[in-house]
């Protein structure tokens, strides 16, 4: 290999290394594994009743607004116990767990999260009857041109 090309290859390898190390491969069973971790085993997780509201295109992975709304009457006998946010391509994929109860009146939570990469964010709600429901939102994270290197 000519020296220049080898030099460029090395340079690319060096430049690429931190990103390669940071990228978490999307495993087919990654999400299932995470969900099992949260639910503590073999609980059935059904899709539905959970709406995740985010911008489709995030300006920035550092602060992505996110709203979770669970379809629940929030009565003393039928309410949402907890909501867990999962971002499987984040280095720490379990983002947060929020606990609430019938006194909330409305099963809706807003926060701002970090996303390491373009991915589908999953919200997992546990209801008062013990059942699990989930919803997702795809977020495309864009990159900056002018970085703070100072």
């Amino acid at each position: 290999m000519p020296t220049r090309r080898r030099f460029l290859a090395t340079l690319t390898a060096i430049a690429g290394a931190p990103f390669a190390a940071r990228a978490v491969p999307a495993q087919a069973d990654g999400r299932d594994f995470l969900i099992r971790q949260v639910t503590g085993g073999g609980a059935l997780v059904r899709e539905g009743r959970v709406k995740v509201d985010t911008p489709e295109l995030a300006d920035n992975g550092h602060s992505v607004p996110l709203r979770v709304i669970v379809d629940s009457p929030m009565t003393a006998t039928d309410y949402v116990r907890s909501v867990t946010l999962l971002a499987e391509r984040n280095p720490r994929p379990i983002v947060a767990t929020f606990s609430l109860g019938p006194w909330a009146g409305r099963a809706e939570i807003f926060t701002r999260i970090r996303l390491a990469d373009t991915q589908e964010v999953l919200a997992l709600a546990q209801l008062s009857d013990g059942s699990y429901w989930s919803g997702t939102a795809k977020v495309i994270v864009t990159e900056l041109a002018c970085l703070d290197g100072s």
Binding site: L147, D148, G149
Partner: protein
């Protein structure tokens, strides 16, 4: 995000600045409020006239510099470091009192020298990229750099909360980012060159309303 005071994280710095405004400091036992009383009245419109010449030293100072002069002259206490949490908070608090008011800078015999130097720096090609401020922010604003839209390069929202920084920061920090971007030598925040540039930018932004604290990517 910027227009809703609660969603705007910069308001946390404004709130901290308000606390600092009331807190006595140094040998004098004075707080900012001791001399200036209510910031909402005394500081209203002040930021629209900065950077300004300090009559005592015949030097150009921005709000950060004015706060540190006050600390030295009236509070007898050491200066805040540039880009420190406290200086950002107080600067944001003071500038916030002028939110919505138009920038009002006049060039006269006193500040002309600084203005000329600032304009010269703005138009001078620098760094390995050999780019001037004007080439991006006058000639190519609105176009894309990757997913960034090139701004018009106005400083009327500073200190800002920048999502990339995950923190509040000064106009001079942003200058350093630009210098880094064009691979030029990084000047220190608070340096004479940056103050001159800040004056030129304020003149260039005259008429635009102050937005402090701004929120940017």
């Amino acid at each position: 995000m910027q227009s809703d005071d609660f969603s705007n994280p910069g308001m946390l710095w404004v709130a901290r600045g308000e606390k600092l405004w009331m807190t006595p400091a140094g040998g004098s036992g004075k707080s900012c409020a001791t001399c200036h009383t209510e910031a909402s009245q005394g500081m209203k419109g002040v930021a629209t006239r900065y950077p300004a010449m300090d009559p005592g030293s015949a030097r150009l100072v921005n709000i950060e510099g004015r706060i540190n002069l006050c600390r030295a002259r009236h509070q007898q206490v050491e200066a805040f470091q540039y880009e420190s949490e406290e200086l950002l908070a107080l600067t944001a608090y003071v500038a916030h009192q002028s939110r919505g008011m138009p920038v009002k800078i006049e060039i006269d015999a006193q500040n002309r020298r600084h203005f000329d130097r600032g304009r010269d720096l703005y138009n001078r090609r620098i760094g390995q990229m050999n780019l001037s401020c004007a080439q991006c922010h006058d000639q190519n604003w609105g176009k894309k750099l990757l997913t960034d839209t090139i701004s018009q390069g106005h400083g009327n929202a500073y200190p800002i909360y920048r999502l990339e920084w995950q923190n509040a920061g000064s106009l001079h920090r942003r200058f350093r980012n630009c210098l880094y971007g064009v691979r030029a030598e990084l000047l220190p925040a608070g340096s004479a060159e940056f103050l001159d540039l800040e004056l030129f930018l304020a003149w260039r932004a005259r008429g635009l309303p102050l937005e402090t604290p701004g929120v940017r990517r």
